[in-house]
């Protein structure tokens, strides 16, 4: 390199350094002021804030990594070259294969299981039935109602009944067909009405009380009845949200292999390895330390891989039993039975509004068809109600939600868990009331918002709040304000609709009681300069590996590609609770930041001492530590620090803040922060056919801080896509307990043709506790998609749809009713 280049480079570098320092100073000043204001706000309600979190988000980003994009993600290359190893790609010497036989009946007693014929087949190694693994387990420890295989009774069509392990997958599959099960049929419970009927048979007859009600939650805040009575307008409506399912392209799969000293290694396509680790320990009766649980690359989950499935337990059990590796891969059809998807939910909503658009009160009831087992159903019952007071100011709120058992495959956590259904009802309801009062719905939303640093009527603590910006940006980008004034004539009606939403960034409380951190990270640095981050997080495609690398790289002043992320291996990585409740960026990001801070302070101390400057004067970026004229490159920094401190390692952890609540029973719902979304949908309704086309969706999401723009936008796009599927096409349909949609052909997830143009807009609100201010962006953006489409259909055609998916038949029916109504009004 010639000298002039060198000088240019140096000048550019100095300029950048100066800019960074100025930016840092400005940001620090702003943050100090914010912190002061926040303390003042906290003092106003001391009962709800009991101490700071393990967060260090006050740090400015100066390394140039946070927010930088255009170069992919650290594990992207493995995925585009086919080198990523998913569980089904694992092949071990002498590996055997397991398959299960599933129930053909929704509700039946198992009289006998004859396995002789299957066992006699050459190549069949073992047959397992329910009584071999009788220990009950459950996603939420307070309700353990599930076994690996049905014990004495089957409770849904598709429930695993018996398992064959054989030398090949094909043989195991064939041998399953040779198992003879005799059933005594029981009357099934297939509707919400029947599940509420105490005279119907109890699906879990061993439960002492409750019949088919898994959990009923009711909470009341303020004086709902009085507020409704005093409202200018009260609207009451019923809604029904269908069952839908995740359809990750990778079917669930687990491989287990015995290893030294009686230990077992299990590779599972899971989102929640830590909870699975505990469940396997329980069901197999092993020491937790005797199981090594590894999550390989996972072909997505969206909530569908949060539970422990028969494939996990059976592969582990058989590997132990046979002393050889065992794989169990589900078929696509089986994934539909494993389900744990969206609860079919019937809702009733009554809301009051004053002439100025102020929401006075909400009274809400929900009944959810949870299927045969509880999964995360206890949490669902809360999530159906607790987020309703977000993001609109509301002083009077009452909800009652009931999560029921039926003889359908178990519902569970699907993206936007429990919050999707009520958000649909609320956002449609709000539009309807605003229009009835002659108000612009978008303005009504904007005028009802909580300011930052607020506490909702049910005690949720809002910190950062970027929804005003989201609303303004989607209105601007979509041309909402102009288009909302247009009306088409002729059969093709164009319409535009808006909705807003809020979601959590992780749960304050894990599923089991503990004071241990929710997330842990361990860092080590090789003398080559390569940093390894060990994390318990479970990347399922959302980009959490890159998130960890990004946060660490930012603080250490290197690039993310310099970081190797080792994730979700219980022998190597500290515990993280898993990829659920949109907790990973917030919690693991903070743990990563904590670890990186600790590491950085050692490196900076060593460098500062060598330079003879204060540690805070050392600037770390672009793989160089510098102060004034002095600079050290990254590997020299490592050598210096390692010489001084010895081996370089650091840990970091995150525990959410201890936010108390004025309300008892308020342990499910509170989160350290909330994300916010506003969306606009533009549609055409063909009034002759009832076919609705969604053309464009603009989604502005307050994610606190952009860590990586393409990954963040990808999450928003994926959410909107899944929302469009639920709005237009997807429904888990049943006939007499038989799911008629157990394939990608019949369960219609959108193809590229069915996907609108999605315009993701990133809005930053700099959360005071998020890592570099970041919040979630992988679930929340789905919440407002369905209501935005429903509101756009109203704008186009003047029909309110209360029951997604918005199929042509439903649209036509509503149009006919509209025409009848109009005719009646005309006469």
């Amino acid at each position: 390199m010639d000298r002039s280049d060198d000088l240019d480079r140096k000048a550019a570098m100095e300029k950048r350094v100066a800019e960074r320092l100025a930016a840092r100073a400005a940001k620090e000043a702003a943050q100090a002021q914010q912190a002061e204001e926040r303390t003042a706000a906290d003092v106003t309600d001391p009962s709800t804030y009991m101490g700071p979190a393990d967060t260090r988000s006050g740090q400015p980003a100066e390394g140039g990594v946070v927010g930088a994009g255009g170069r992919g993600k650290i594990d992207g290359l493995a995925k585009i070259t086919g080198r990523a190893i998913f569980a089904d790609d694992l092949k071990l010497p002498r590996m055997a294969h397991a398959k299960v036989l599933r129930s053909p009946h929704p509700h039946a007693r198992i009289v006998s299981i004859d396995t002789h014929e299957a066992l006699a087949m050459e190549g069949v190694l073992a047959v397992v039935v329910g009584t071999d693994l009788p220990t009950r387990h459950g996603a939420i420890p307070v309700v353990m109602d599930e076994t690996a295989l049905a014990l004495d009774k089957v409770r849904y069509i598709g429930e695993p009944v018996a398992c064959v392990c054989a030398t090949s997958e094909e043989l195991a599959w064939l041998a399953c067909q040779r198992i003879n099960v005799v059933y005594e049929l029981l009357p099934p419970v297939l509707t919400i009405e029947d599940a509420l009927d105490a005279d119907k048979p109890a699906i879990h007859e061993w439960r002492r009380k409750g019949g088919n009600v898994l959990r009923k939650v009711d909470q009341s805040y303020g004086d709902v009845d009085a507020a409704l009575a005093g409202s200018d307008l009260v609207l009451e409506e019923s809604y029904e949200y269908p069952a839908s399912t995740h359809v990750p392209l990778e079917a669930h799969c687990a491989v287990a292999a015995p290893s030294d000293e009686g230990r077992l290694t299990v590779w599972s396509s899971t989102q929640n390895p830590h909870y699975m680790h505990r469940t396997l320990t329980r069901v197999l009766g092993m020491e937790q330390a005797s199981i090594r649980l590894i999550k390989p690359d996972v072909g997505a989950g969206y909530g569908g891989k949060c539970d422990t499935f028969c494939s996990d337990i059976l592969s582990a059990h058989l590997a132990r039993l046979l002393g050889r590796p065992v794989k169990m891969a589900m078929e696509r059809e089986e994934v539909f039975y494993a389900h744990r998807g969206r609860h079919r939910t019937r809702m009733w909503l009554k809301m009051g509004m004053n002439k100025d658009g102020r929401i006075t009160a909400i009274d809400f009831k929900a009944w959810a068809d949870g299927g045969a087992y509880s999964s995360y159903g206890v949490v669902t019952s809360y999530y159906l109600g607790v987020f309703m007071p977000l993001p609109y100011r509301l002083d009077n709120y009452r909800f009652e939600s009931t999560r029921l058992y039926t003889n359908h495959p178990p519902a569970g956590p699907k993206r936007g868990h429990g919050a999707i259904q009520p958000r649909f009802a609320l956002e449609v309801h709000l539009d309807r009331m605003a229009r009835a009062l002659g108000l612009e719905p978008a303005d009504v939303r904007a005028n009802n918002l909580f300011p930052p640093d607020s506490i909702t009527v049910n005690g949720l603590r809002i910190t950062s709040m970027g929804l005003p910006d989201c609303l303004a940006q989607v209105r601007e980008a979509s041309g909402y304000d102009e288009k909302v004034g247009l009306q088409d004539s002729g059969p093709f009606k164009r319409g535009i609709g808006l909705a807003a939403s809020a979601y959590m960034c992780g749960a304050l409380h894990p599923i089991y009681q503990t004071d241990t951190p929710h997330s842990g990270i361990q860092l080590k640095i090789d003398r080559s300069g390569r940093v390894t981050a060990f994390t318990g997080t479970a990347d399922c495609g959302q980009g959490s590996n890159h998130m960890v690398a990004c946060v660490v790289a930012e603080r250490l002043g290197i690039q993310p590609e310099m970081i190797t992320v080792i994730e979700a291996d219980s022998d190597l990585c500290p515990v993280d609770l898993g990829s659920y409740s949109s907790r990973v960026t917030f919690m693991a990001g903070n743990a990563a930041l904590h670890a990186a801070e600790t590491m950085r302070s050692r490196l900076v101390t060593a460098v500062a001492d060598k330079f003879g400057v204060q540690p805070e004067d050392v600037l770390c970026c672009d793989g160089q530590y510098s102060a004034g004229d002095q600079a050290l490159k990254w590997t020299d920094v490592i050598e210096l620090a390692e010489s001084r401190f010895g081996t370089l390692g650091a840990t970091g952890s995150y525990r959410p803040p201890k936010i108390g609540s004025r309300f008892r029973r308020q342990s499910v719902g509170p989160s350290p922060a909330y994300s916010f979304t506003a969306q606009v949908a533009e549609v055409t309704v063909d009034e002759e056919t009832g076919i609705v086309t969604v053309h464009d969706i603009w989604a502005a999401h307050d994610l606190g801080r952009v860590l990586h723009p393409e990954i963040a936008m990808g999450q928003i796009e994926g959410c909107v896509y899944m929302g469009v599927g639920e709005a237009m096409l997807e429904e888990q349909r049943y006939r007499d307990g038989v799911m008629t949609t157990p394939s990608i052909l019949e369960y219609r997830i959108p193809t590229v043709y069915d996907t609108p143009e999605i315009h993701a807009i990133l809005v930053e609100s700099h959360d005071p506790e998020g890592p570099f201010g970041a919040k979630e962006c992988g679930e929340g953006p789905q919440l407002s998609t369905v209501p935005a489409i429903a509101n756009a259909i109203f704008h186009a055609s003047g029909i309110w749809l209360t029951h997604p998916p918005f199929t042509p038949e439903k649209v036509l029916r509503a149009l006919r009713q509209r025409d009848l109504q109009r005719a009646r009004e005309a006469t």
Partner: protein
């Protein structure tokens, strides 16, 4: 992995070697495999022998006939047919019908012959084996009751070939070949009234080619499906203008396509609607599918009678 049932495989490269085993018990022809192999994975068929046609080059040829028509070999792929300049110019509705089959990748695998001979389809039939067991079997596969019409005796599985409606209106013929010789059959004669019965040709006959008469017919093809790709049609409509009148073929509603002909084109939509009787062989409502018959035919007629568009399609 969903295993295929065991079978022995024959993949001759000469036509004579195809004809020899054809008609023997347990022998089934394999063309593109895009419908047969999934059905075999679902245990709808367990042939002892699969007789693959993929290695007989002459079966894939597209060539003009002496009278100015076109002879499309049964193994010509749907993608090949829709991209063929002669097809696009002379029989554009066939090209656009091919373009609506499932996906482009399926079109590159599936063949015109396979599409014409497509097995009838039903929500209760095209399902995995274990699923069918949970409903006590389907009449067309292994059961004794039809779940679409439990009180009836017939099978209502729907003829769902995308290419058949337009081919019928182009008055296509099938060239059938067996050791006994060759014969021609009007495509409209192929279909059975019961969804179980399959195409009305002899067991030892091979569909060798589809013969299109010389161009001139003005035909439009329309497909109604839930998604823009992948899905089979839940309603297929082809409309042909003939002077002041016209005809339509309505398909995917029952075991055989329904033809209607009217003297005044304006009456076609109503006539087609009256002639259609969809049953719940599809997960979307049959009431709506019937409603759509009228609209789709009317829209096709409107398109055919709009001069600008007629040129574009003619």
């Amino acid at each position: 992995m969903l295993p295929l049932p065991s079978f022995s495989l024959l993949a001759p490269d000469r036509l004579d070697d195809v004809l020899a085993p054809l008609g023997q018990p347990g022998v089934r022809l394999l063309a593109g495999g895009t419908d047969l192999l999934p059905s075999m994975k679902h245990r709808l068929f367990k042939p002892a022998t699969l007789l693959s046609l993929s290695r007989v080059p002459e079966l894939a040829r597209i060539e003009p006939t002496e009278d100015g028509g076109l002879r499309i070999g049964a193994m010509a792929t749907l993608l090949g047919v829709r991209q063929d300049a002669r097809v696009r110019a002379g029989w554009p509705a066939l090209a656009s019908a091919c373009a609506t089959v499932a996906t482009r990748t399926i079109q590159a695998m599936g063949t015109l012959g396979g599409n014409v001979m497509l097995d009838t389809r039903c929500l209760y039939y095209n399902q995995p084996a274990g699923w069918r067991a949970s409903i006590g079997g389907c009449l067309k596969a292994e059961g004794s009751v039809c779940h679409v019409a439990p009180r009836g005796t017939g099978c209502y599985a729907a003829q769902s070939s995308d290419t058949v409606p337009s081919l019928m209106l182009y008055e296509a013929e099938l060239e059938l070949l067996s050791r006994r010789g060759s014969r021609r059959l009007a495509l409209s004669e192929l279909f059975s009234a019961d969804g179980r019965d399959g195409p009305r040709i002899e067991r030892d006959e091979l569909l060798r080619a589809v013969i299109l008469p010389p161009p001139g017919a003005v035909v439009l093809h329309r497909k109604v499906r839930p998604r823009g790709a992948i899905d089979y049609g839940m309603l297929l409509v082809a409309v042909r203008r003939q002077g002041d009148g016209g005809s339509a073929v309505i398909s995917a509603l029952g075991p055989a396509p329904v033809s209607v002909r009217v003297e005044q084109l304006g009456d076609l939509a109503q006539a087609a609607w009256k002639a259609s009787n969809p049953l719940s062989t599809h997960s979307w409502s049959s009431t709506w599918r019937k409603h759509m018959v009228r609209i789709e035919v009317a829209r096709a007629v409107a398109e055919l009678t709009t001069p600008r568009l007629a040129i574009a399609h003619g």
